[in-house]
Amino acid sequence: MALSGHLLSLLTFFPALGALALLALRKDDELWIRWLTFAVSMVEFLASLALLGKVSVGAAGYSIEEFGRWMSSPAINYHLGVDGISLFLVILTTFLTPICVMASWHGVHHRIKEFHVMLLLLEVGVVGVFLSLDMFLFFLFWEVMLIPMAFLIGIWGHDRRIYAAVKFVLYTMAGSILMLVGIIWLYNATGTFDLPAIQKIVQTGVLLLSPRTEMILFLAFFLAFAIKVPLFPLHTWLPDAHVEAPTAGSIILAGVLLKMGTYGMIRFCLPLFPDASRRAAPGVALLAIIGIIYGALVALVQPNLKKLVAYSSVSHLGFVVLGIFALTNISLQGAVYQMLAHGISTGALFLLVGMLYDRRHTFEISEYGGLATPMPQYAALFLFVVLSSLGLPMLNGFVGEYLILLGTYLVHWKWAAWAATGVILSACYLLWAYQRVFFGEVTHQKNRDLQDVSPREKWMLVTMVVITLWMGIGSPFFTVRFAASCTAVLQEMNRNVMHEVSAPTPAERPPAGMADKSMERASR
């Protein structure tokens, strides 16, 4: 009982304990280091599943919270909490970490101990970001997480790793320092860093911001998140970071780090600055749509397989941002779903591409061709993941994209129409790349006797494929758990509008009844 009272703290800091334990091991105990890290991350994953039981289905708000005072001036509290939205992001993180350990089993050969320590510390940071309810604590985890990620890219990455690592940190820091100024501004206006408390102050109208101030604050936060997502035109760090990172780094980066940005938008931008969000929505949506199409077009012409996957992330995350800023219940749920789906399918794509790299040490598509002959199982699994990524019905990518497009269509059919081209384009670049890599004659002698998936690799991939399928068929399992939280986010926004503007325009009010019905249809 004592432990379950601190489940959230345990989830946050258990990997750090694991990292400490790793430090005690000898440098050359390779196997020990790998197994210990794997065990720690598996325990963490199982512990995070316990959250599923704790988060009540259909209830908004934070199901479990932990609260403690850290310091009185400035009033910083240790406040953790989990609701439907953060629940699955935490589980996604804890799920991908053991996968990362497995994925680096043969890919990482030097400074193994440091590598696994960094991986676990990264997990601490990411889980902390998703669980923090104190803005200060959030910022702390947000920043601290940068260092292990930069090391992962910079030490174990590919040729241009240092450039990529520095670029990654600089971009993120530039955004987050502005966010810090925004956080301090809010602290000075409200006297607290506590997110629910600030939310309440904003909602009840105790703190009335002038439109200009609200917009500036919104931008301070939004910029930090948009860089992280990354939203066009702030995406330029992403291809470098993804391509140069080792496989494990890419999986975590694409799988969860990008979601920190979209999570921040849902958690901070919408509830705290509802009017500014509404005013900025058309602009943000425009950037998101540009990102969807631009990312897809660039992916189409990539000769480098990993870069192709990286740009597909720009495109897919554009959907998420569009879903958030369409500001309807359905699209928001779709955005959350797409975050999870993208985490799994793009994580799996990077994993697959990494396996190819382990064998041939190149990402160039032209180096491959006809791989289906020597590696039939690999080709089948790859196809499955590709199909899920491009949004084939019954697989996870479809649910998210469909909900986003549907929700967006209800309020701005033009946005949805433009965004839908992204779905078509994603089919183009993914299938074309698949064709070039797997079909036809084997063009390079080296590829003739490539090994098919090993049992270790098969286990990882089959797990991910099963989840992909489950998320495609059994989506209500997920949506019922975060639907209430999504509704709450939008309700908070609307209540605020009622407070300031007498009559909300029809376009701003999500057609609730209709939304719910189509929601159900989509889930079935």
């Binding site: 940190v169 320092i177 000075n188």
Partner: protein, 489 residues
């Protein structure tokens, strides 16, 4: 008015200074008799510690007819400069041995300089402040040129001396004009003076220029990189920490107590802060020499402190009062100084004999060659950079907070921009240490690990960095709760 002759009670107010000076003299007298370097180091450490500890016996109140004032504010700075002196002496031990330099005078000069800084922190009158300034400056000139056989060191001393004297002249001329305008050199008397008097403004401007030189505020910072680079590295550690903190203390006393022309001084500090931040950060961006890079970074940090000063000058009109801005400035000075001592100590150790290994290339692969030194230096750099759970983060946070409280959003954003520039060059050094391979074989004379004394200094600095990064409230609470300026009125 006939001044009272000084009595025993006056001596109590300057007990730390007396103690430091006494030990300085003892050290010089001991030199012919005690040839053992470690013995002298020990005496020096005792001296620094004793002076610092007497701070707690020294009674609050003013002494020497109001020339000095011992209050929370000066106690804080006495502790700070005392601790810095202690750490610097401890770090110098191995350095002096390696460079074959005489320890006695070195320690004595450090103690004299420290006494000067103590005077600066408690001075209530400009001429007394001048004495403190000169005590610390003249010792600093000598210390900068302590490596007599090195051309760079001599150049540093010469530059520092010439430009420093020039700045002192500004300071003195400023005092003269202020005296002309107010008929007094007591800080308390400024309060009643006509704030719009041009003579007073001119006088205070000259004083600001003189002190601006000492804290290396742009555009008076040109000397800093050369002097910091040429001086023996433990001395550089001292320069970046002690005199800077003490001079900032005097600046706070003058421009915090004087009601003179708030708006005018606000803009003066605003411009100084912006120029200094940019000069420091942009300069550091292109440095390949680590010592020089840290010198520029120290300019940048002076700029951040000046942001808090700009906040101080506006906060007088603020109902909250200036306490948070004071607190921010003091906390920042404390955190930066101690972290900086730690960082320079590592640079000093890694420099090798003759300080030949100072470029970034020499630091390549340090993460595998000397894990402890690399980890600690990274911690200090991350603190400079302002990453959470380090002292530097809360330092920046408090300054941001003070700036935003005073509605200086523009200044806060400029500071944010500068912080990002800072990220680049601090991160670059970390990248070099951990991600680059060392080219060629390491030189034979390279130390394999930090000497025990240096390791001690580094550990203390690291502990303070993390402590202030986790529980800054203990220190800050002390600073804000007992509003440092309240007792001086």
């Amino acid at each position: 008015m006939i001044p009272n002759p000084p009595g025993l009670i006056d001596v109590y107010r300057v007990l730390p200074e007396l103690c430091w000076c006494a030990f300085g003299v003892v050290l010089m007298l001991l030199q012919p008799f005690l040839k053992n370097r470690q013995g002298l180091t020990f005496v020096g450490l005792i001296g620094a510690a004793a002076g610092t500890l007497t701070t707690s016996i020294a009674a609050y109140g003013s002494g020497f007819n109001g020339l000095v004032q011992f209050d929370t504010f000066s106690m804080f700075f006495h502790w700070l400069v005392g601790l810095i002196a202690f750490l610097v002496i401890l770090a110098s031990d191995s350095y002096l041995e390696r460079e074959r330099l005489e320890p006695a005078e070195f320690y004595a000069l450090i103690l004299f300089a420290t006494a000067g800084m103590g005077v600066l922190a408690s001075a209530q009158e400009l001429l007394t402040a001048f004495i403190g300034l000169e005590m610390s400056s003249i010792s600093s000139y000598v210390l900068a040129g302590y490596r007599r056989d090195s051309i760079k060191s001599s150049e540093a001393a010469m530059k520092y001396f010439l430009l420093g004297s020039f700045a002192t002249a500004f300071f003195l001329y400023g005092i003269a004009l202020v005296y002309g305008a107010t008929g007094s050199t007591y800080l308390a008397k400024f309060a009643g003076a006509d704030p719009s008097s041009n003579l007073l403004r001119l006088g205070l401007t000259l004083i600001l220029i003189g002190l601006g030189f000492k804290v290396a505020a742009a555009p008076f910072q040109i000397w800093t990189p050369d002097v910091y680079e040429g001086a023996p590295t433990p001395v550089t550690a001292l320069f970046s920490a002690g005199p800077k903190a003490a001079t900032f203390a005097l600046l706070l006393r003058i421009f915090g107590t004087s009601e003179a022309a708030t708006d005018f001084w606000f803009w003066a500090f605003w411009i100084l802060a912006v120029l200094t931040m940019f000069a420091g950060n942009l300069g550091a961006l292109v440095q390949a020499n680590v010592k020089r890079m840290l010198a520029y970074s120290s300019i940048a940090h002076a700029g951040y402190t000046l942001v808090a000063f700009a906040a101080v000058t506006t906060m007088k009109m603020n109902p909250d009062g200036p306490a948070p801005a004071y607190g921010a400035a003091l906390f920042y000075l404390a955190s930066y100084s101690l972290v900086s001592v730690g960082a320079f100590t590592i640079v000093s150790e890694l420099g090798g004999s003759g300080e030949r290994h100072l470029t970034q290339d020499d630091y390549a692969g340090l993460g595998t060659r000397q894990p402890f030194a690399a980890a600690m230096l990274s911690l200090f750099l991350l603190s400079f950079l302002g990453l959470p759970i380090t002292a530097g983060f809360f330092g920046k946070l408090y300054i941001f907070n003070a700036a935003i409280k005073s509605k200086l959003l523009g200044l806060a954003i400029l500071m944010a921009v500068n912080s990002v520039i800072g990220v680049y060059y601090y991160l670059r050094l970390i990248v070099v240490m951990y991600m680059h391979e060392y080219k060629g074989t390491p030189p034979a004379d390279e130390p394999q690990r930090l000497t025990p004394t240096a390791a001690m200094v580094v550990t203390v600095a690291a502990l303070i960095t993390v402590y202030l990064g986790l529980l800054p409230n203990h220190v800050l609470g002390l600073l804000i709760a007992q509003n440092p300026m309240a007792s001086s009125r």
